[in-house]
Symmetry: C2
Subunit: 198 residues, 2 copies
Amino acid sequence: MAGPDGAIDHLIALMAKLPGLGPRSARRAVLHMIRKRALLLIPLADALSEVARTARTCVNCGNVATADLCAICSDDRRQNGTLCVVEEVGDLWAMERAGAFKGRYHVLGGTLSALEDRGPEDLGLSHLAERIVAEQVSEVILALNATVDGQTTAHYIAGLLEDGVTVTSLAQGVPVGGELDYLDDGTISAALKARKSI
Amino acid sequence: MAGPDGAIDHLIALMAKLPGLGPRSARRAVLHMIRKRALLLIPLADALSEVARTARTCVNCGNVATADLCAICSDDRRQNGTLCVVEEVGDLWAMERAGAFKGRYHVLGGTLSALEDRGPEDLGLSHLAERIVAEQVSEVILALNATVDGQTTAHYIAGLLEDGVTVTSLAQGVPVGGELDYLDDGTISAALKARKSI
């Protein structure tokens, strides 16, 4: 035993399994929580129990949700007809933080990968095709990562879709606030090729 | 809303208040937990609820505990007669990880500090004096931090104690595995002054 009681030790061991935390920062976090019992420990225990009880995968889009349909799928104010396809839930959250997209999402849960032996059937692409028909989607935005696997998957999905659907992808170029000197050659080439008149 | 549901959003906001985590790492941690529901989310929720229900301060030594007496104070195998005085619970845990001390502890909960207006009465030094008599302590080890406030407090406590009690402090010197080139001058001077024949 490393000093604290059994229950506290157990909590530290579990906290240390979270990404970004190790044994040392888990100990600091647990001590901090115990000191801030009313402000942090009790609310956090309640919030975790609530999420543990309710968290599931949205049956429609693959986002995490606290009901069968996630907050986005069940929101009537979102535009139908435009579907943004992302790899992971974290990517969906990143898109939402940007706040520039008002349509619906579809989370693949990964990419095609020869290395990891993931084929089209593992990504549930037939469910994506069903949604495109059922929700009368006219544009599919492939917001996949600019990695080899991400782009392979984007090309594969683009090839699957019917002619009536517009397929687009995110523009590549210089990040906002980015300095040319710190950018890789590929990004500079892509930004130059996609140059626009001002 | 940043993408996730209300309950998940709330959990992320609370996690982001932990030391060592920010909004980005809190999101990553929560997504990771939701993915590892059975292995991590549910055990963590249970462990937090258990600690929230039971965590308190040991009435004898000031350690955190899940009962009125902490695991160390209620352990009969620990030696009586030697009392190690530390500033914070984290320091006690660090001593326990080293595993070199088999006696009892006393947690001050801070140091004397002119800047933060903490005097002797705020540290409960009378309770320390009572313990020394009641537990027939023959040696008090002042394991306070090697800071100005820590050393001021150590000198103050050493002055308070009766003549019958031996007062010691941790040795200062080169850390195990430490390289001289990376050590500060004060540590090298202290190590030289306290040099030993081999």
